[in-house]
């Protein structure tokens, strides 16, 4: 199902007038709602974010030398990466490394291929892109090659599960100053406070960044179930038991022969 959250167009005439006097480009994104609700039929969606590039140099615009990267970054969590190894013929988890503050999800859209925007060193410095995002190892006695190996594995697993994604061409200019970014929300998108960030590049040079928070919530029934399960575990469990007994009893009532 394709589902789109509309994000407000941000037209700041006052700000742009001010910016013009300073002769510098500025970038803005705006969100029409500060939360998105996940319903029971959620199976992934596209999120559209609108934004404005103010005080753009018309010549640079015509040459297409402005580039924008928009990222939706999920809540951060300590993440354990485990590696299986053969042990008495069985494949079991033997090694692990912990990483701190790993974004649970990371969805990125660009105006064109990453390598055409600027060099890798800049992306690494900005911690921008699935391959460049900085993943901080926790306390470890492993050496650098081992950390690098587990870091790559973490990126690989996140990519494979659809939680980390990149969409080349996902950002499009609608006019000289208006742009639209389409990001992918995977079906397993984590709930919590996400952050939408937009990065502006001109001729391969990073100019500035702007960001806005976005909450992703479970809605209605799902949210209630999740909250009750986590807040009132005992009563939730007791309820689940009674429900199971009710279903068993109903089944008997409907189908019994004796």
């Amino acid at each position: 199902m394709r589902w789109t959250a509309f994000i407000l167009v941000w037209l700041l005439s006052a700000v742009s007038a001010l910016a013009q006097s300073q002769d510098a480009e500025s970038i803005e994104i705006g969100l029409s709602a500060d939360n998105i609700a996940i319903t029971s039929d959620f199976s992934g969606a596209d999120l559209t974010i609108f934004g404005a590039l103010d005080n753009a140099d018309p010549l640079t615009v015509r040459q297409g030398r402005y580039d924008i990267i928009v990222v939706l970054q999920g809540p951060a969590a300590t993440t354990v990466v485990r590696k299986k190894e053969r042990f008495f013929g069985m494949w079991i988890n033997l090694h692990s490394e912990t990483f701190e503050g790993v974004p649970l999800s990371y969805s990125l859209a660009t105006t064109r291929a990453m390598q055409d925007i600027t060099d890798t060193a800049t992306f690494v410095r900005l911690s921008l892109g699935v391959d460049n995002i900085y993943l901080k190892p926790g306390e470890t006695d492993g050496d650098a090659t081992r950390i690098a190996e587990f870091t790559e594995a973490l990126r690989g697993r996140k990519r494979a599960s659809g939680l980390y994604s990149e969409r080349v061409g996902g950002v499009q200019f609608l006019s000289q100053s208006l742009f639209r970014a389409t990001l992918s929300l995977p079906p397993n998108v984590p709930v919590g406070t996400h952050r939408a960030r937009a990065f502006l590049f001109k001729n391969g040079v990073f100019l500035r960044e702007t960001s806005a928070p976005l909450s992703i919530l479970k809605s209605g029934f799902e949210e209630t179930v999740y909250r009750v399960a986590n807040g009132f575990g005992f009563f939730y469990g007791a309820g689940a038991v009674l429900l199971a007994m009710l279903v068993g009893w109903l089944g008997r009532l409907i189908f019994r022969k004796d």
Partner: protein, 307 residues
Amino acid sequence: MGIYLPIAELSVNMFILLAMGAAVGFLSGMFGVGGGFLITPLLIFYNIPPAVAVATGANQVIASSFSGALAHMRRGSLDFRLGGVLLAGGIVGSTIGVYIFAVLRRLGQLDLIISLLYVGFLGIVGSLMLVESVRALQKAKSGQTASLKKPGQHNWIHRLPFKMRFRASKLFVSVIPVLGLGAIIGFLASIMGVGGGFIMVPALIYLLKVPTNVVIGTSLFQIIFVAAFTTIVHASLNQTVDVVLALLLMFGGVVGAQYGAKAGQKLRGEQLRALLALLVLSVALRLAFDLFVEPSDLYSITPAGVA
């Protein structure tokens, strides 16, 4: 149609889960087992996190056991006293199991232990049942009547102290093996997400010499409570019970069980046991395959807590 599971935190196809419940329900109705040992591996194959699959499996088992126990209560083939003693042991075993479950999950070895227990127990029970039923089939062919219970025959279990009389089972036996058996089943129930019927039924018949007609009702009776206890403890400690998932499986299961019971009546006892043995062995082999064949991805990630 897709449906979002609030605890497993993923979107799944509703009809696949209903069909899964119905298929397992059919088999459980046919063979008179709870089906937990099939549901949990199936859920894991379907990418449900093992922790959620186990806790939800326990929840699902309640529905089918409750339905079955009601039928046995009506027929009087349920020994409440024996069930009660088994249950006392079961609660202890289940509590220990849930704590160990939480520790293993933190260490990242939960999936391994679940698989090992499944391969081990299903392998042993399946092999024993297959050997026994093939012998019974051969005997039936040569004209002899097969009997599981040989009255008057006693083993070491019957020499233990603290004897107790179980009238409905026509049994006078020490409470130690009964409590111990209950505890083992409770422990397995919480770690494997099963009711434990596939171990309980043979153990009651072969070890304690309980009459076969009382065994299934009594086993179902105690499974209800152990599974209920396991569900509540998992819900309180690990927050891994998904009611939406459990409900889908239960609905499918209740319907499937009715047709399974009808199909089961058309087959002879030893044929049923041989088929069940093959089923149990194939699940064990499938899980062993995953354990011994190099996985396509050696790495796995788990969140260790939201910062």
